[in-house]
């Protein structure tokens, strides 16, 4: 038994996990790819409407390493580059590339590498970047950037602790593809040159645990079970549980020689390196009482949610709300006519009986339960008062930006106050203010430069006029002199 630690706060939740096998979906008639990636990074389309593309072909790319290339998930024709609703909390539309599939699913030949040890870590990392791999745990941070260690990495942690209720895509992937996940983990360990590799899963998942143990029997990878407390699967929380290292809010695990990757990411890395396949599909859990037959589907990225729901037998009559992600951190969607993205781990259709908040928010009674469960050791109550009265600077003093938006405070609040939503809004206000301040400084500088330049021009003009006047005076006096002579 390896020593384990405990992270502060957290809640024990009902898992609601239906461990179904992974089913293969039918080909959707249309695939949609938004150009907006995580936060505010956009990719540029490299295809034109009318162009034919093959499965695995790059359709959008970027010079910025924080934006990863997008690959077509099936062969077909680009019908449009137009505005569509995207999977984003704003519910707004943005530019998307739309592919009409041709049903042939012709694959663009890749570049498989059966023995990764013949290549250098840098080459392999470059390959993961070209394959468009991002963290598949939900944050969708580019994997190649995370695999670039500025400091030597001692431990690679593969995160299989899928702590959020309802989501079971990682667990089903472990049960189906444990061998490949181990391979992916070994490749990443080789890229990072890490001494140790740990795969962590929750102790409520014995089948997956067994699958990993038998797959890793001949390699030097530790399989560790961790208690199922939400949010154990949070990167910093998992690191604390496994190593006892508390990563400060503003630091990265990499600063402490640790790198954490999701099991889905490990599988994608295996596919990219060993099979030469870019990231074009991922496992998505379709669940909730609002879905007739909950399933885990190996879905093509870009598939409309509608198409996947149809594969699950459609909705039940009392479906109430559609959520992308889990019940704790997911975002509500207004319609199912939205395509899944690389970050989509779950599509949750909830009935009113399942929704945790069934009443309007009541006043805060200052019970302090939120502070006890906060894994970031914040004081949600104080943050709430300050954000409510728009004292955003005070929020910052109470470390608002350390909030990981896990939703523990929301779930324990007896008054059902939407705390996280308030904190997100406060973060938005502060970010906007910062942007405005930067804009003001820029405008001020440009205005000052203009004034200086115009002053200089004026002076030059005056100087020239004076010279001219002097010249005229001189000529005049010369003329009068001549006359007098």
């Amino acid at each position: 038994m390896i020593k384990q630690w405990k992270f502060p706060g957290g809640v024990v939740l009902d898992g609601h996990k239906q461990l179904a096998d992974i089913s293969e979906p039918t080909l959707p008639p249309e695939l949609t790819y938004p150009l907006l990636q995580r936060s505010d990074y956009y990719v540029e389309p490299v295809v034109k409407p009318g162009q034919r593309v093959l499965k695995g072909e790059v359709i959008a790319n970027s010079q910025n390493p924080l934006a990863t290339p997008v690959h077509a998930a099936s062969s077909g024709v680009i019908t449009a580059i137009a505005s569509r609703l995207i999977a984003h909390p704003s519910g707004l539309s943005d530019t998307c590339i739309i592919i009409q599939t041709d049903g042939l699913d012709t694959v663009c030949p890749g570049n498989p590498c059966p023995n990764y040890q013949l290549e250098t870590p840098a080459e392999l990392r470059h390959k993961t970047a070209l394959a468009g791999i991002v963290g598949l745990g939900g944050a969708a941070f580019p994997t190649a950037v995370k695999l670039k260690n500025r400091l030597p990495t001692h431990t690679l942690i593969i995160n299989g602790a899928e702590c959020e209720p309802y989501i079971s895509c990682d667990i089903s992937l472990i049960q189906a593809n444990a061998q490949q996940i181990i391979q992916g983990a070994l490749i990443m360990q080789y890229i990072l040159q890490a001494e140790r590799c740990i795969i962590a899963i929750e102790n409520t998942m014995p089948v997956a645990h067994q699958a990993l143990l038998s797959a890793a029997s001949e390699v030097d990878i530790q399989i560790i079970t961790v208690p199922a407390i939400y949010p154990t699967g949070g990167e910093k929380q998992l690191i604390e549980v496994l190593t006892g290292v508390k990563i400060p809010a503003k630091a990265l695990p990499a600063d402490h020689g640790l790198v954490c990757q999701n099991v889905g990411t490990a599988y994608a890395v295996y596919q990219a390196i060993c099979l030469g396949l870019p990231l074009t599909d991922r496992i998505i859990t379709l669940t909730g009482k609002g879905i007739k037959y909950p399933k885990n589907i190996r879905a093509r990225i870009g598939t409309p949610i509608k198409h996947l729901v149809e594969l699950c037998g459609g909705y039940t009559p009392d479906v109430q709300r559609l959520i992308m992600g889990g019940s704790m951190m997911g975002i509500a969607l207004s319609t199912d006519d939205i395509a899944v993205i690389k970050a989509t781990n779950c599509v949750l259709a909830m009935t009113s009986s399942e929704l945790s908040v069934n009443q309007a928010a009541m006043p805060c009674i200052r019970c302090g339960d939120c502070a006890t469960v906060c894994p970031a050791e914040l004081l949600p109550q104080q943050l709430y008062w300050h954000s409510r009265s728009k004292q955003f600077e005070q929020c910052q003093d109470y470390q608002l930006f350390n909030c990981i938006e896990c939703g523990c405070c929301d779930i324990v609040c007896p008054s059902q106050i939407p705390l996280v939503q308030n904190f997100r809004a406060a973060k938005g206000e502060l970010t906007n203010k910062e942007k405005q301040a930067a804009q003001a400084i820029l405008a001020k500088k440009r205005h000052q430069n203009q004034k200086q330049r115009r002053g200089k021009e004026e002076q030059e003009k005056l100087g020239k006029a004076e010279k001219r006047q002097a010249m005229i005076d001189k000529m005049k006096s010369a003329a009068t002199n001549r006359k007098t002579v």
């Binding site: 909390p89 704003s90 309007a360 809004a425 973060k427």
Partner: protein, 173 residues
């Protein structure tokens, strides 16, 4: 006695030195007021830019509620800085409007360069008899270029609202 004399002499020299070399350039209050202004340089306050207005406020010549782009929030910030009670925005100087940027309808532009000198931040690009355009990222939305245009080809567009700029709204019902 002698010791005290020496001490005072040293302190006096120190003070003299400080007065001479640590002198604050300009009026720090003007700087502080200027930092709170939105820097649109729009002149709606009837002063030729944000800094002149800051100087006028510092000297007591202008009131604190003459800046429409700053809005009520801006007035409150100035009142807080100056230690006086806040007051409503004086709408004689204009109404606060949502953030916007100037946009030149390019097929209508005749290339007269009349809009270029009024721009306080050099955000309009163009030359005589060439089509002009506004650098959106630099535009402060001051609207000073709109009136001089002889063909009315400059319009103010509200800032584009795309998902990357979207922020969560609070829910305090």
């Amino acid at each position: 006695m002698l010791f005290l004399c020496l001490l005072f002499a040293v302190l006096g020299l120190g003070l003299g030195y400080a007065a001479r070399y640590l002198k604050v350039q300009g009026d720090p209050l003007v700087e502080q007021i200027d930092a709170l202004l939105p820097q649109t340089q729009c002149g709606q306050c009837k002063y030729p830019g944000c800094r002149p207005y800051a100087q006028a406020v510092a000297s007591g010549e202008a009131d604190i509620n003459q800046c429409p782009p700053g809005g009520e929030e801006g007035v409150a910030a100035l009142a807080n800085l100056l230690g006086i009670t806040t007051k409503p925005l004086n709408t004689d100087f204009g109404q606060p409007s949502p953030p916007a940027v100037a946009y030149i309808i390019e097929q209508d532009c005749i290339g007269c360069i009349k809009c270029i000198p009024p721009c306080p931040v050099d955000a309009i690009l163009g030359a005589s008899k060439q089509m002009h355009t506004v650098i959106t990222a630099e535009c402060t939305g001051c609207e000073l270029c709109v009136a001089p245009c002889p063909v009315d080809c400059i319009i103010m567009l509200p800032l584009e609202h795309n998902p990357s700029q979207w922020q969560w709204a609070a829910n305090n019902d």
